[in-house]
Structures are given as C-alpha cells and as structure tokens.
C-alpha cells in the first residue's frame, strides 16, 4: 500500500507505510546509493543499521542522512553523493583503475613541490570527494537543553529496556534513549527516541543528538546497551552493491523489497539462522545458503545448502552477480545472485563504552558486552568502506614502517570516516596482530566522540555567542548615534559621530564619557586598610580620608596585572576602582588575600550596581556648578579629592581624577540613576557646547598624557620598573603582593622598558608594529595615535635596552622613523589637570 512518494533526482518513487528511505529506494530498484570516497566505486545498502557509510544521502538539502534508518517521508527530495556527472554514470570511476597512481599516503608525498600546485590540487580533490554540500541558504540553529537523571540507558533494544525497567523498579529516575524508535518501553521510564548518544565525556556528560537539537544528559550512572554490529568480512568484492549484512537482508525481505532478487546467504552464527528464516518466510528466492554443518542441519525448507564452505569473493561490475565460495573438497563454485547476504558473526558496538575512563559509572550490558567474533588477518578486499582503504593499502603502510594499529590508522585514514571504526576497527587491529605487533600496538584504536555523525548545528547547540555587558546608558548611546564596539567585555561607545568632536570638547570646552564599566569595589570592615595595604604596593598610610591615590596591582611574580584608584573613606574603608576588563579578577584577588591573611574585611563588588560618568575639560567645573550646589572650587575639591556631592539631584561619590590631562571629575552613582544624570549633564552642557567622547578620543587623550593601558601596553611579565611606574611602589612597606619578587628582580639589569614614541608620520595603524633598529627587531609599538593638538603621531611601545642600559636609537616602525620621546607629551607640568 503506497503511503507516499519521494523524489530521487527527477524520479518519483513510491514508498509504503513504515519504510525506511533505503528500503523504499531498494524496492524501486536502486542499487547504487553512493560512490566511494577515493576510488568512486559503487556502494549499496550494506549494514541496514546505520553503522556503515554506504547509504549516506542528501535529503532535502541536508547531507549525510543515513537512508537505512531514516523513515521515508512524503515529498522528500533525495540526492545521491559522489559521482560526476552522476552517481550512475561517474566519469571519476576511472580512479578505481588507477590505484597504483594513488597509493596510500600519496597525498602526503605529492603536491609538496611546487608549492603553488597544492591549492589547485586541493580544490580538485575537494570537488571529487566528500559527503555532500552543506546548505548555504540561512543559518540553522539547534536548541540545547540539559537533563539530569539517575540512570541513562543508551540503547532501546531488549537489554536496554530490561536495564531501564530494573533501574526504574528500584525507584531511580531513568532515561532511555535510542537513535531509532523505542518500542514497548518499560513503565516509569522517560524515553528519548531518535536521540543518538554522541559520546561520553568527563562528568559524566552524554550529549544526545536529535532532529530537535541537543540534549546534554548528566546521569549519575550510564548503561551502555548499544548492541552489536554484524561483521563484514574482507574479501574481494565485499563492497559491491548487493553484498549486504544479514540484518539488512532480513529487513528488506520482511518489507517486501527483495521481491525480484535471487539471494545467496552465508551464515555463521545463531542470528544468521534467524535472518535466513526471515528471508525465507518473506518468500524471497534464496538460491543457496553457505553454512557450517551445525547450522546447516537446522535449516528448514527446500534450500540448496553448501556446508562448511569458505566465502571467496563477490563478482560483478555494477552490482553483485556471483557469490563465489569454495567447499571443503576444494571445489570453487560461482552462484548467480542479485544479493549476497552475510551473517557470519557479531562485534559489540562498544565505542561509547570505550570512551569512558576508569572510575566512570558506566555499565555495559547485552550484546554490547559480547566477546567479539574472532577476527583474523583480513584477506584481499576493502577493510574500511568509509575511506576506501583496502588490505593492499594496509600492507603497503606496514612495509613503510607504520606498524601499529594507531599509526596505521593515521597513515591510511582507516577508521576515520563516518562509521568511526565501527565496521573496520577490529580488522585493523587483527591485521597488526597477524604481523606480530605487540599487544598494545595491535589494540583497537582509541574511541573518541562523535560515535555518530552529528549535524553541525547540533554540534554547535548550546554554545554561547559573545556575551556583552552593557552600562545603564546603553540606550542613550544608541539614541545619540554612537558607534559601539567591544572593549574589556563591555559594549561601549567608540565615538559619537566624528571622534575629533569629543576630543576637542575635552581639550577646549567640556565633555562627558560613560565609564560605568570601571571595576568598582567597597573594601570595608575592621581590617579593610590592612587588606588594601597587603594587596597593593602603593603607600597608603598617608592617604587622608577624602583623597585618592593611583595604584597598580601586582601578582606574586611582581608583574603588573591591573591599576586603578584607591579612595579613602575614613572609617568606612576604601573605595577601589580597577580597569574595566580586570574587575572580576580584582574581586578574586582581594578575597583571596583576605582569606590567606585571615583579615576581617568585606569586599563588595559594586561594578554592576554603580555607574560612573566622567566630566572633563577646562570648563568642567563651570558645568558642574550649574547642576551642583556643593563647593567644587580647587581649594574645596583639589586634584585626587573624593567627595559626596549631589549632582542634578543624584547622589554621587565624586573623584577628581582622570587621565585625560584636563580637570576631570568621575561621578560614581547608583546604576539606575545613570540615565537621569547623563541627560542632565548633556542638557546643562549645551551652553558650553558639550560633546560626549568615546574610546577613540580617549585613546588620543591618554596617549598625549603618556598614560598606559594595562593589557594593551603591557606584557604579562612587565614589572613596575619596565613600565616606568616604580614611583607607585613603596618598597619600604613591610609586605605586599609581589614584594619578594621585586626585591629579587631589582638586582637584575632591566631588559626592556615602555617608552613614549614620536613618529615622523603615520597614525593608529602603527600599533602592533615591530620596532627595528638597523633591521633588527628591538621592540614593538603598543599604542599609537595622531595627536591633533601636537600635530604629530605619538605612541607608546616597549624597547629592548642595550647591554649598557641605554635606549636604542634610529628606530623604525615599518618604514616610519620613530624616536623615543619623554612623556607626557601634553602639559608635562600638569597645570591644566590641577587647575
């Protein structure tokens, strides 16, 4: 009964209710499902269980769909992979006659010279191979969810269902998953049909891939009940269309898809007998059965049985035509057939179990725990169907010295295809063992995820994109047309229109900037000062309440890791600011130090709770006077002063500090008051021709003052001396983080220094360039910008000192001459800052 129709190319194919895609195609006479990777040999249905690569098709534009286990659906559009111009008439099948020209490892040895040849060869190879083309129309995004359970049972067969039922009976929360359907699940068990386990990771974590996305399962116990695969023996022609495993044949027969086939079956174990019976019961014409005597005696019906014969080869051009066997008398017989079904033994499907490490709560049950069928030295034929690796290739690799299963794998790529060694891994190990390799060199290759093919969007599910922090002023920046970008983990304005507008506003009038991204901390408690003192190298005993001091932060190695301002709040402790990108580490650093020294100090991270706005420029004080009644004249509020002020009705902690080189106030306020305060300042600034500035202007302004950015201008092993900030370190203090290292480093000559640089031309693009002296690299430009007020390009960079401690001369950044210049470049006496 036709249940629907699908399309294979232009051909419409009817399918029946319950058909897999592969079954429907087979019933319609399709025998070639794909072309092999390298040799472009025809490949047809083989395993019928989703283990081998032969039936990977492109369905509705999605490549890599396993036809044998994918239900047929009305309207499906199916394409076969490989083959040019088509799979049926493949001009590239000439590769099958050119094995001698493309032996194993040839890619490693050819196209090396000339170098220009490789890109051309790569393009040609890419066109000739592959599993299909990825869809490029739109980006698919798969969802992801986490699942916690007591027991995860992987595999919905009889063993898996029994294990799940038993665990549920014990009162455990049990999840049973299977890559196919789950029939007759036990009660009390959550089932996840069509969910394939991808691997077992530390945790344990078991990702389950499905059409709906990814489930990340976190079970306390894992039961692997993935069953076993049938062994595909290695013999000439073992990859011909029509040569298939017993399960595949039984399934096709039961679904009436082999109605016109003459079948030869070779059976070697109990399950093989079941498959034979299934095929016979379906009315399929079985022309011969090859079986050992103990099974042959149990074959019913009028079937020609050849006892104890060896399978020699399969013959045919476009598909199998003859199964050739040799009986115990040495007589070789070729039996005409359309399908050659093999059911000779089982090998546990144990990839997942082998991914677990010692101590993981993993139990293997059912056929997955079977002792595998005996694998012997493979004869002639294909060992790895995925990668087109034959026994000839293995022998050649062995002769070249690749003498263990692991390096055979790497050299030949056997086991590295879509089946991940499920069909060929044991053959590889047997090949090495038969040649006398030691046990460890003849072991199975390491099992790694993914155990099953996973769509890329499922593989990416749950992976977070960039996480951007925003200040409370974000919407206002957007309204003002700001150009936003990432900096220190935050989304920040780089400029509002022309960056020079903001720059000139700072230097000539007044400007505002959102610095709510700064790290902000309250250090309080009886030992607050002791904590600040031991954490930072700065002298603190003379920092009066209501004043601030610049500080750097060092690690135990004496290297500079952050900087900021420490503001004394008197008995209430300290208010600390840090760089925007360093806030998280600063809190950890302080808490760690408090714990280590047993200090009763509280560290409160206010970064997210407090906003901050800089008001800077020669008319900053005038602007603030219009919205603040508190005194802010230079005597009442000197440089590095800290005050509590009400600005435009908003309570602010105000620090008179900044590194822009002009009178600067940092207004720290409750985050929720940020928009109100910003609007008030913008409004009040109109008579002063206020223009906000962003990071672009800030870069120029701070470089004019020669101030460094920790991170941008520093290297991980920069000490205060290298950065020229030794003045911020009080070596007389009894202790601080990094002091011992600095004492040791002080006795060593300085190898490099951060210096100011003046360039003869150029702009910000000089940043990152190596600094050379007569062709030798002696440093690097860490920051550079064109200064409008100085009308020259300035920057910072590190330079290696000469052996006598002097600075190198005759520097060049690329072709641009540069000279070491004293900093600050602008207002070196700091008169404007302290005005």
């Amino acid at each position: 009964m036709t249940a629907g129709r699908l399309r294979l190319g232009r051909k419409r194919i009817a399918f029946e209710e319950g058909d897999a895609l592969g079954t429907a195609l087979y019933r319609a006479g399709v025998r070639t499902f794909s072309r092999s990777l390298k040799h472009h040999r025809r490949r047809g249905l083989s395993c019928g269980t989703g283990d081998c690569p032969n039936c990977l098709l492109t369905v509705d534009g999605v490549p890599g769909v396993r036809a044998c286990v994918t239900p047929a659906r009305d309207g499906m559009r199916v394409r076969r992979r490989g083959g040019w111009p088509s799979v049926e008439r493949d001009a590239l099948s000439v590769m099958d006659r050119l094995h001698a020209l493309t032996p194993v490892g040839f890619l490693y040895k050819t196209f090396v010279h000339p170098r220009w040849a490789w890109p051309l060869a790569e393009r040609a190879i890419r066109r000739a191979v592959g599993l299909g083309r990825l869809p490029t129309d739109g980006v698919a995004r798969a969802g992801s969810r986490h699942l916690h359970t007591d027991v995860l049972v992987i595999g919905g067969g009889p063993s898996g269902r029994a294990a799940a039922g038993a665990a549920a009976h014990e009162g455990r929360r049990v999840v049973l998953c299977d890559e196919g359907e789950i029939v007759d699940p036990p009660p009390g068990v959550e089932i996840l049909p069509r969910h394939a386990a991808v691997g077992i990771y530390e945790g344990p974590l078991v990702p389950l891939a499905s059409e709906d996305g990814l489930v990340q399962a976190h079970p306390r116990r894992i039961v692997v009940a993935t069953g076993a695969t049938e062994v595909l023996p290695v013999f000439p022609g073992n990859d011909l269309p029509g040569v298939m495993l017993g399960r595949c044949a039984a399934d096709l027969a039961e679904r009436g898809a082999m109605w016109r086939d003459r079948v030869v079956m070779a059976i070697g174990h109990e399950e093989g007998l079941e498959h034979l019976n299934a095929v016979l019961d379906a009315g399929v014409r079985v022309v011969a059965v090859v079986a050992p005597s103990e099974l042959a005696d149990r074959i019913h019906g009028d079937v020609r049985t050849i006892r104890d014969a060896d399978v020699l080869r399969a013959e045919g051009k476009d598909r199998v035509r003859f199964a050739v066997v040799r009986d115990p008398d040495g007589v070789t017989r070729g039996i005409g057939c359309d399908a050659f079904a093999l059911s000779l033994g089982l090998a546990p499907r144990d990839d997942l179990a082998r991914m677990a490490v010692a101590g993981d709560p993993v139990e293997v049950v059912g056929d997955a725990a079977l002792d595998p069928a005996t694998f012997v030295d493979p004869g002639e034929g294909y060992v790895c169907l995925c990668e087109d690796v034959g026994t000839t290739d293995l022998r050649r690799a062995w002769a070249e010295g690749f003498r263990s299963s692991e390096i055979l794998k790497r050299y030949t790529t056997a086991t590295m295809g879509p089946c991940q060694g499920a069909m060929c891994g044991r053959h590889l190990a047997a090949f090495a063992a038969a040649r006398g390799a030691a046990a460890n060199a003849a072991a199975r290759t390491t099992a790694r995820p993914p155990a099953r093919g996973v769509p890329l969007e499922v593989l990416a599910a749950g992976v977070n994109e960039l996480i951007e922090k925003r200040t409370s002023l974000h919407e206002l920046h957007l309204e003002a047309g700001a150009r936003l970008g990432r900096s220190g983990g935050w989304l920040r304005p780089f400029a509002y229109g022309d960056p020079l507008d903001g720059y000139h506003a700072v230097r000539e009038r007044v400007s505002v900037m959102d610095v709510g991204t700064l790290g902000k901390f309250l250090i309080t408690g009886p030992d607050a000062t002791a904590l600040a003192d031991v954490t930072f190298p700065t002298r603190l005993h003379d920092v009066a309440p209501g004043t601030a001091r610049y500080t750097i932060a060092l690690d135990e190695g004496g290297y500079v890791v952050d900087d900021g301002l420490l503001c004394s709040l008197g008995d209430e402790g300290w208010y600390l600011t840090s760089t925007s990108g360093g806030a998280d580490r600063m809190e950890a650093r302080l808490r760690d130090r408090a714990d280590r020294h047993g200090l009763r100090a509280r560290v409160v991270d206010l970064t997210a709770q407090r906003g901050a706005i800089v008001v800077a420029g020669p008319r900053a004080r005038e602007l603030l006077s219009t919205v603040c009644d508190d005194p802010i004249d230079p005597d009442a509020f000197p440089q590095l002063g800290v005050r509590e002020l009400t600005v435009a009705g908003v309570e602010c902690g105000v620090i008179r500090a900044g590194f822009l080189g002009e009178v600067t106030f940092e207004l720290h306020h409750a985050r929720s008051n940020g928009p109100e305060l910003w609007r008030a300042l913008i409004h009040a600034g109109e008579p002063f021709d206020l223009a906000p500035h962003g990071l672009d202007a800030l870069e120029v302004l701070r470089l004019e003052k020669g101030h460094l950015y920790v991170g941008q201008d520093t290297l991980p092993d920069d000490t205060p001396a290298k950065l020229g900030v030794s003045w911020a370190v009080d070596m007389e203090k009894e202790r601080f983080v990094g002091k011992r290292a600095l004492e040791r480093l002080r006795r060593q000559p300085l190898e490099r220094r951060l210096v100011g640089l003046a360039f003869h031309r150029g702009d910000a693009e000089l940043r990152g360039m190596p600094l050379t002296e007569r062709g030798a690299i002696v440093g690097r430009v860490t920051s550079a910008a064109r200064s409008p007020i100085l009308d020259r390009t300035i920057g910072l960079g590190w330079v290696r000192l000469r052996s006598d401690g002097s600075l190198p001369g005759d520097l060049r950044a690329g072709r641009v001459p540069a000279t070491v210049a004293p900093t600050p470049f602008y207002d070196p006496e700091g008169e404007r800052l302290r005005a």
């Binding site: 969802g143 992801s144 969810r145 986490h146 699942l147 916690h148 990340q216 976190h218 977070n464 996480i467 951007e468 922090k469 925003r470 200040t471 409370s472 974000h474 935050w490 309250l522 309080t524 408690g525 009886p526 808490r591 009763r600 509280r602 409160v604 206010l606 970064t607 997210a608 709770q609 407090r610 409750a670 985050r671 929720s672």
Partner: protein, 123 residues
C-alpha cells in the same frame, strides 16, 4: 524587580542572616536575600558583628523567572526542589532562587543577554 539585600558580615552573623525568608549563602561572609530583612533580624546580625554591612542591592541585578523546563535550556545546573544556588546560567555567573519556578539573577550589566537567552529558551 523584587527587593534584594546583601549582608556582608562575619560567618557567625551570616548564620543568623540566612534565616531571613528568601536568603541564600553566597559565601561564608555573605548572604543574599530576595525580599526584605526584618528589623529584629538586622539587630541580631549587628549584635553579633557590629561591622556587618547590610546593603540594598536592587540596582545591581537583573532578574528573570522561568519554569524549570525552560531553565534546562539555559544552564547545566541541577535544580533542587527548593532553595538557593549559584553558578553558570546562560554563560554568566548567576544567583538562583528555586521553587516551582526559578528566579534567575545576574549582574544588571548582563540584563540584555539574559533577556535574549530566556526568550530563545522559551521559543
């Protein structure tokens, strides 16, 4: 936005603070409270640690309340039937109050990120 308080105090005082309804222990010396802290409890905390800092923290946090099944799309954390926990949610550090539903609190600077990911998880 619910009322949020944080108590920074000696561990002994935090042992008292944790008795507040909707309280969670962030660290030995820090308790986070979803909801008000009664006056008598404040006095008791201050009595044990006069330097205890009891601060309203509403400004620093963004929140979202989601059903448990939606939460499973946002975090690998295993939820208890009820209570407080903290950890990685939508890739950022979060504080959680769990009941029939889950109240997620993240730093206010990550509000847009939380909103977007919750919206995606709800689809």
């Amino acid at each position: 936005m619910p009322e949020l308080w944080s108590v920074h105090a000696d561990p002994d005082a935090c042992d008292l603070a944790i008795r507040a309804p909707g309280a969670g222990r962030v660290a030995p010396d820090e308790v986070f409270v979803l909801g008000p802290i009664a006056d008598d409890l404040r006095r008791a905390i201050k009595k044990v640690d006069p330097g205890a800092l009891i601060r309203q923290a509403d400004d620093g946090w963004a929140h979202a309340t989601v059903p448990r099944d939606v939460f499973a799309r946002l975090s690998a954390l295993e939820l208890p039937p009820k209570g407080y926990l903290q950890g990685d949610v939508v890739g950022v550090p979060a504080r959680l109050f769990v009941d029939e539903v889950v109240t997620i609190l993240v730093p206010a600077s990550l509000e847009a990120h939380l909103r977007r990911r919750v919206e995606e998880g709800t689809r």
